[in-house]
């Protein structure tokens, strides 16, 4: 079973559109949406939720005003500015370290577990899908990504899938690193813009740092031919293969509005290129 993650560095390069297309083309695969902050894959794969699980992670401090003597030790000790001067907790700033509850001389501070989000095991017409939603203004997205990954892998193995295809988040931090762990291939989707190139290089540095097999797809390559050529040169120097160059197509937006993978929506050049890309990898 091979795990393939689609990442980008820069947001909006086309990860989810591509992942959904792979889902439609793969004959025997499971899927995971690891962009737990702003998940979109479900809009194209239309999963039917079979199991819902709570994601409980981290704690938030709570002050019992009846016990509080207003000595201020908690305010002094908090490194995250989560204790307000009126001895209430800013739950958004609170990182749940519990130092305040330990220093409180009257035990007025307790730590309450957060319901930080939910994760789901669903069925789509293309195969099983694991996805999640982080709660509003919650932390620990990396942990939730890891949970999604673990369950997607488990299902893929249990059901003898050939592939687990993962829609990754943008950026290079914790959620991205969690979505990269132990994959067989990281596909970086970039665009021929200076921002796209800059961000691609940083995320390629991350995959290199973690010794992950990496390939690049240049999406919307016809926006700027010179930049597309620069990307090819950069990848050559980095010894990273550019596996496809996809043209800009207005059909992409139309397929998203329709709520289906582009390879199902139409058969224009980009759809043909994506089919060829999938065969290649």
């Amino acid at each position: 079973m091979k795990q393939i993650v689609v990442i980008s560095g820069k947001g909006g390069t086309g990860k989810t559109v591509l992942t959904a297309s792979f889902a439609a083309l793969a004959k025997n695969a499971s899927f995971a949406d690891c962009d737990v902050d702003a998940p979109d894959l479900h809009l194209l794969l239309k999963p039917e939720i079979k199991e819902k699980h709570e994601f409980r992670s981290g704690k938030t401090a709570k002050i019992d005003k009846r016990l509080c003597q207003e000595c201020g030790k908690c305010i002094d000790i908090c490194r995250f500015d989560a204790l307000r001067k009126d001895f209430t907790i800013d739950s958004i700033s609170c990182e749940g370290c519990a130092v305040c509850s330990r220093v409180c001389p009257t035990n007025a501070i307790t730590m309450e577990e957060n319901l930080s989000g939910e994760w789901f095991i669903s069925e789509t017409k293309y195969g099983p899908m694991v996805h999640a939603r982080l709660g509003i203004a919650e932390e620990n997205s990396g942990k939730l990504v890891t949970l999604v990954r673990q369950n997607a892998k488990k299902i893929a193995e249990e059901r003898n899938k050939d592939y687990c295809i993962i829609d990754g988040p943008p950026g290079i931090g914790c959620p991205v690193i969690a979505s990269l762990a132990n994959v067989d291939l990281a596909l970086i989707v970039t665009e021929p813009t200076l921002s796209g190139i800059h961000d691609m290089e940083r995320v390629a540095d991350v995959t290199k740092h973690f010794s992950i097999n990496t390939k690049v797809v240049i999406n919307k390559y016809d926006i700027n031919f010179k930049n597309a050529q620069d990307i090819r040169k950069i990848c050559q120097v980095r010894k990273v293969e550019v596996v496809a160059e996809l043209p800009f197509s207005e059909n992409v937006t139309r397929s998203v509005v329709r709520g289906m993978p582009i390879v199902e929506f139409c058969n224009d050049q980009i759809a043909k290129d994506i089919v060829a890309l999938w065969k290649k990898i």
Partner: protein
Amino acid sequence: MIISIASGKGGTGKTTVATSLALSINSGIQLLDCDVEEPNAHIFLKPKIQQSKTVYIPVPKIDESKCTFCGRCAEVCTYNALAVLKEKVLTFPHLCHGCGGCNLFCPQKAITEGDKKIGVVEIGNSSHVQFVHGRLNIGEVMSPPLIRAVKEYINPTRSVIVDAPPGTSCPVIESVKGSDFCILVTEPTPFGLNDLILAVEVLKKLTIPFGIAVNRADIGDSSLDDYCEKENIPILMRIPFKKKIAFAYSKGLALVSEFPEYKKEFIRVYKEISERIR
């Protein structure tokens, strides 16, 4: 006044709006690029960097000559960043949140805080715009501490524009926290709308007033407009989908530098936001 620019969905045009706003207002502006994982504003503003500051976070350093391996540090650590074995203490700096609990509660005072580099903050100028951004080191997991470091450079005598990262979790929260108004940049597609709704919930929880900037406004469908009307959310401006705009963007050219006719739009939005905050 601090205006943050966020979105939910990546690639909607936050940096385009942030840099255009900064360049359209004639004076007294500071731009903070808080997308420390993938900073892009410098590509369009081309600032002259005058100062570079390495940013550290405190991580535990154990003095094994004093340590009795009692295990108290691991007990108090909420993040499992310490493991106490028979005659060794293991630390996992990437899990450390820098809360200070371990050194505070060590009965032997055997723990000090060493510094771990996580990235840099760079400060400079681009014509009349004061510029600050952060760049997270490759392989570092947490961006909020670096974002906090960037925001330490907020100049209260200026109008500050904060370019936030994509998403809706801690890096975004850290970036938009404390701002007087947030412009949510979106596109009229199902992805744009889906993620916008999440971003709106975040801003409501943070009680930050907001308005929408619609980019690539003539693609997609009408569901974004319907949503904004239903929820009474102001649409502050619309930027059309034009290949020439995309091409200029691809070359790292700021929208209002290439197409100065948009400046008056950004000035109008800036004035409208100032009024709304009042």
